[in-house]
Symmetry: C2
Subunit: 535 residues, 2 copies
């Protein structure tokens, strides 16, 4: 993973000159004057890890799996939000962990957490490092002797495949492609393809309630999880003896979304499905976003439910048309809104469902564009983060945010968030391009995924963005949306999450954390606001 | 609701003489010598409700909604398990609440809970009163000034129907039929039809994670809930701003299944669906239970998924054939195992799915019996509790229990529970008939629902059953099942639930309860074992 951006550096591609020109002419984007830092030149603050703590941690995992070298520490500094990238590119490494520890088993994680609690060392679980919400940058480090990243990469096995129950037990450090590879060798798939798929891990998918691009067919990751195990400073927690149970509150749902604040997820048992024989993705055009949204709602509620179902608004559609590699690339008509509709199964199943869906979509005002745009979408489905790097390189600011709500709240939510982003960024002198798509659908509602592009500006782009993001978050809550549909809470959304959960809901979460992590060493400041010192 | 049994006394029907004869000849069932108590003769212990507490409660709901008369107290004593019925029929009323309080709003419930906490009065939320796991019989009453039942019957409105999002917000005291009536008047259905449907309430469905007979098509009740509100002694808790969210742990899932121990659910927002045009239920026969279970698994995993999918084992099939009103009534061939397979939708949708499912079931060894048995099943689907009353009347003991597990664990779980029940009851001198069916299916597993019939015996039938139930619960945990698939925990399953959740899981639940109910007045002893006084 590129330390200063996304993914495999070999896959990076510069923007076409035409796009750079458009950015300059429309958004006032100018290349930055300061060249980005080089990894070899970066120097994190001196490691604070006390010798006694280091010895205790090394006693668990072995010396070779305790790293305090600069490169390891830089590579575990924060996540992959745009502010994270801009800060690390500027050499700002104040959040670098004091060490990186690589446990190899549940028992080792358990022992590490006990050692961390004993030595007042904060522990940040680290999977693919792809958090975009500050989930890897704990707060209040000064209150601890040190901060260590628990990198789970060594825990990357398929532990068990139960072909009768169609479940697989996976270790948390498995990255998406490797998990798929191990399952496909046995004829199965997880069907979980978030944009972070190539780098993110099973543990992260569970801890942050990831949702993949095929969620309409395969469900969200939290819906796939039938059992899990977590190591906590207070001991081991196991949940899930049956797909569904009436035995009390569902403790699985307390660990899903807990973002390392309650424990470290050390194994996840997920429902798997046979690899489908075939897949077919198709493009559709709707005259406008509202018409397209109503058509998606129709399929989500009445079926047949596609595996993939997404709809870009007018702005995103227009931009897509300018990108030859994107869904709209090569289409001559820039009007309306583009959708992707995908089916999987046997060719007969696909055809039956595709034609029934096509009838409903046409009735709802859609026009089929055939397989071309669908295939372009599939081909480029994991490329957006690379595109962001290229945009940052030429001096653009680009960031995403997302929410979800019930269908009846979607139109006002869409307008409110777009207005908040546009007004705040334009007010700061950087007129933005705000794009949106419906990325996930449910019977009762949908998610909205926003992308913002603007000039980084000569002064502080991070402050500009912080103001815009703050305004967008306020708008989301005011319009009845949830502060995150699939990115999670981290530290960035924490204060809005506390408003969403309410004081009593937050109190309940804090009571759970106090029980599982009495010393508060797990990912401090992530998910739950620190208790008011006056309390 | 009949105080000493189930439902509407006008619907009670005595057993046919042939059945009584069979019970006598095969199981040694003899009519009880003692005539059952009459409601007018029953005298609960004197109400302990202190005057100050009564005044505080009456100040909230008004005098007319505080009842301390014998009949109200008897009618709120325990639930509808067979031990509950045998005890109340014997005039054993030690668990009668000291008063019955009927709040009319969320604000009143909230104020009542605060008053209860202030006056050390234990509060038992009461919906339809249909718990079969001791959910209405709190423990440790002596530690409180009094115990009151909070009967939610006045909170029975459809608060909102959102036709765009297809959600309905319902009050907790709505009984199943009334909720359906209100929704159907607008063209919608909940699709939730548990056996307790006619009496149980929306609040109870949520608090106990109910699962209906059409769960294969409509999902469990906990899957329908998109938002809920609860009153707790510590304040109001609201959860659910979108169908799905990545904003932290799912607090809805902490209230679902909380059985009144964390708070009183005062409104539930559920996903609703348009009333289907038509429904078709069909009977199928399989040569044996294992073959039938494999066929159900095939449909659950590969589809097409029916709305109703159930399979009786050989013993239950044989008994069904002897009952003219049951699924097998009138069939001449008593061999093998009967299944019900039901579809809903337009006639075309039904036919397409029915024929695809039929091909798979036939391939898996099944033989269609046509619509007759399916229609008999549908007609009698809510009658089993009436049948139990009739069996109790003639001196038989009859009770049910249920569990769920992953598919790979089902065969051993089935054998272990059956063996545990048979061995314990036979050892006590009452050879039982143990029957089972698969009542609910999922991709990864299924539930098993057991019915036991034996003689009550001359000595203590409750002690016999307690030993058998204890053995069955141990067998369930040993074989990897969950202690309840849809009946819940209550006090009956509590100690096994604590084993299932583990000490740390139980500790987390206790931390949540301590936060929401610091005085411990909510349904004490239900769900979570009392903290060890030595701790």
């Amino acid at each position: 993973m590129l330390w200063s951006g996304w993914g495999d550096p070999a896959k990076a591609a510069p923007l076409p000159d035409a796009v750079t020109g458009l950015l300059r002419d429309l958004l006032g984007v100018r290349p930055s004057a300061t060249p980005p830092a080089r990894l070899a030149d970066l120097k994190p603050p001196a490691s604070r890890l006390p010798d006694a703590a280091r010895a205790a941690l090394a006693a668990v995992v072995g010396d070779a799996h305790v790293r305090t070298d600069d490169e390891a520490r830089v590579r575990h500094t924060r996540g992959k939000s745009t502010p994270d990238l801009l800060r690390v590119r500027a050499g700002e490494l104040s959040d670098a962990p004091d060490a990186v520890i690589m446990p190899g088993s549940h028992a080792e994680v358990q022992a590490l957490l006990e050692a961390c609690a004993a030595h007042r060392v904060a522990a940040v679980p680290f999977g693919g490092g792809t958090s975009v919400v500050g989930g890897l940058a704990p707060e209040g480090a000064a209150a601890f002797a040190a901060v260590v990243a628990l990198d789970l990469r060594r825990m990357d096995a398929l532990l068990e495949l139960d072909e009768v129950s169609r479940t697989a037990t996976l270790q948390p450090g498995l990255r998406g492609p490797r998990a798929e590879e191990l399952l496909r060798a046995r004829g199965y798939t997880l069907g979980h393809f978030p944009q972070s798929f190539e780098w993110a891990t099973i543990g992260g998918f569970a801890a942050a309630r990831s949702s993949g691009q095929a969620s309409a067919g395969y469900g969200r990751f939290d819906e796939m999880v039938v059992a899990l195990t977590a190591a906590t400073p207070a001991g081991t927690l196991e949940a899930g003896r049956a797909p569904k149970s009436a035995a009390g509150p569902d403790l699985r749902q307390l660990l899903l979304g807990s973002e390392g604040a309650f424990g470290v997820i050390t194994s996840v048992t997920v429902r798997v499905r046979p690899v489908p024989e075939a897949a077919a993705y198709e493009g559709w055009r709707f005259p406008d976003f509202a018409t397209g949204a109503a058509a998606l709602r129709r399929l989500a509620q009445d079926g047949p439910r596609p595996v993939v179902l997404r709809l870009s608004d007018e702005a995103e559609t227009m931009v897509n048309l300018a990108d030859p590699g994107a869904i709209g690339g090569g289409l001559s008509d820039a009007s309306g809104c583009l959708a992707v509709v995908g089916f999987e199964g046997t060719p007969e199943e696909i055809e039956a469902r595709r034609s029934a869906a096509a009838a409903r979509l046409a009735e709802a005002g859609g026009t089929s564009l055939g397989a071309g745009p669908g295939e372009k979408w599939e081909h480029g489905r994991f490329n957006a983060p690379y595109m962001r790097d290229a945009l940052l390189d030429v001096g653009a600011f680009v960031e995403t945010l997302e929410t979800a709500a019930f269908w009846s709240a979607i139109p006002a939510l869409y307008a409110a968030v777009r207005d908040a982003l546009t007004a705040t960024l334009a007010g700061a002198g950087t007129p933005p391009l705000v794009m949106c798509h419906i990325s996930h659908v449910y019977e009762a509602g949908a998610s909205l995924y926003f992308t913002v592009v603007s000039a980084q500006g000569a002064d502080d782009p991070l402050a500009h963005w912080a103001a815009a993001k703050h305004a967008a978050n306020d708008a989301i809550l005011a319009a009845g949306g949830t502060i995150s549909h699939h990115h999670g809470v981290g530290t960035d959304h924490r204060d809005w999450y506390a408003r969403e959960a309410g004081p009593l809901g937050t109190g309940v979460l804090r009571a759970v954390k106090d029980r599982l992590d009495p010393a508060g060493v797990l990912n401090p400041g992530v998910l739950i606001p620190p208790a008011n010192p006056q309390e």
